[in-house]
Symmetry: C2
Subunit: 299 residues, 2 copies
């Protein structure tokens, strides 16, 4: 086992509703270890989130060939979903963690810090859900991310729900029957409304998200219903780009599983504000830990 | 206790996801007893639905001053939600019930039989959900009713979800801020997005349905967002009226909690096909039992 004595070791954690990723970072060597664990969304379970943070910290130490006794030396930066709600934030901060430091912020903040390499900027995350964040001159703005089916417009689940709704309308002859409905039936191996309904009724967002790519495919082929759905989502995201960049002369990085596929559909004004993400959210979490640590230990 | 000897006693049952109603009917006296019990939707629990049917049958006998021993003389007509799915229908029909006869059909069919006093016709039910049914010359058609949030367009939950979505967009400055959003916040005692989200996230259809009346109120006052939501729902229902009446020269009765409030918003073509409901669904269930019994005992 290697040891670094008293040198601060930074651990960046990106915790979300499906998994938790950690990277271990040493000033001179860069990333020296990585860890992966289960869901770390404190809203869905505080203890489970704390366990996941611990598990992926341990995994990262082990991956780096370091002893678990180094846990107490780690300067942790964690970006977790849901901690912009004051109650959740307070609950997570009252945790008796084993680390030297535990700096907590939102998953959106570390995503933005990573995407813009620690500088001011904004991100729009579109995966199963969707949300936006910007930080400029000490101000932060959160947009969207209100959860499925309330919000998260232009996320994969929103696209999939719109596709299933369109297919059901078409099957009832109450909406246009286009190739989108046929594609939904084929993809879900459904023969009719009842089969489609049985498959999706009461389901959470993930199964709907599986249909997102199909909506883009059909829109690209010119299907009128799919194009209308995509245009609605793109309009929402284009507005979000403009709202986020109202804070100052910043750029927006599109990240998440659908980040790339949305970009060509945005308005020209929105496209002009877009920039590629430089680093991942877990590196953003390391940057956050370093910023907080440096702030507290300034010479 | 009164006794009717061997005279057939008809019991009509209207079973849904929130309650089960029964009426006891005697040829010469009309309705002689009523019963009410819990949910009787076999999709949500087969045994619970059977228990509810039994409980409201017992209650109706008791209300009529009849002995429970009369259960075995009852000719029951039951209209239950979900039994147009073959599997649910078969499961419910395999029940070892204590009645003389147990004739099973859908809640929509008995609603239509009641509304049109046993003759051909159609119904559109709009309460928390929405669905349509028509019967003409031996043919039946079912439309909509695919469940929240997949389908049930123009139902109360659909209206409420649209209102909450509009309020969240307005609060994020990503959609027009009209008096609808203010009304949603006031009605739900929410100060902001987070409070609204906390209140509705992961909720089933019923809490959304509580906002339906507010959407109509705002639309009537001229709120542009509320008017667009109501126009979308009214367009859907107007199409449904035309689809249902394609089966023949029949009329459509609008029933359910929102039935009356939707009618003025429909297209003129749809309005021309509307007729008031003559009887309730539980009377439709009695009519169904009589039609089946007469069919089997024709001289």
């Amino acid at each position: 086992m290697t040891s670094f004595g008293n040198e601060p070791l930074f651990l960046g954690i990106d915790g979300g509703g499906s998994k938790c990723r950690a990277v271990l970072y040493r000033k001179d060597s860069g990333i020296i270890g990585e860890g992966l664990a289960g869901p770390a969304n404190p809203v869905q379970g505080l203890e489970r989130a704390q366990d996941a943070v611990l598990a992926c910290a341990s995994a990262a130490l082990s991956d780096a060939g370091l002893s678990q006794s180094q846990l107490g030396h780690l300067i942790v930066g964690a970006g977790l979903a849901g901690v912009n709600a004051p109650r959740t934030r307070a609950a997570m901060l009252s945790w008796q963690h084993p680390f030297a430091q535990f700096y907590l912020t939102t998953d959106l903040h570390i995503a933005s810090l990573g995407a813009h390499d620690g500088t001011d900027g904004a991100v729009i995350i579109t995966g199963t859900g969707s949300s936006g964040f910007s930080q400029c001159a000490g101000q932060q703005r959160f947009l969207g991310g209100h959860g499925f089916p309330l919000g998260d417009k232009a996320g994969g689940a929103w696209l999939g729900l719109a596709a299933v709704q369109a297919a059901l309308l078409a099957l009832d002859n109450l909406g246009p029957a286009t190739s989108l409905s046929q594609a939904v039936l084929a993809k879900t191996h459904s023969q009719d409304s009842t089969a489609l309904m049985d498959q999706f009724c009461g389901q959470p967002s993930a199964p709907y998200g599986q249909l997102a790519a199909l909506v883009f495919d059909e829109a690209a082929k010119g299907d009128a219903v799919a194009k209308a759905i995509v245009a609605d989502g793109a309009g929402y995201l284009s507005n979000m780009v403009l709202q986020l960049t109202e804070l100052g002369p910043i750029k927006v990085a599109f990240i998440g599983g659908l980040g790339g596929i949305w970009q060509p559909w945005l308005s020209d004004a929105a496209k002009a504000r877009i920039t590629p993400a430089l680093q991942g959210p877990e590196v953003g979490a390391v940057i956050y830990a370093q910023q907080r640590y440096t702030g507290e230990h300034a010479p």
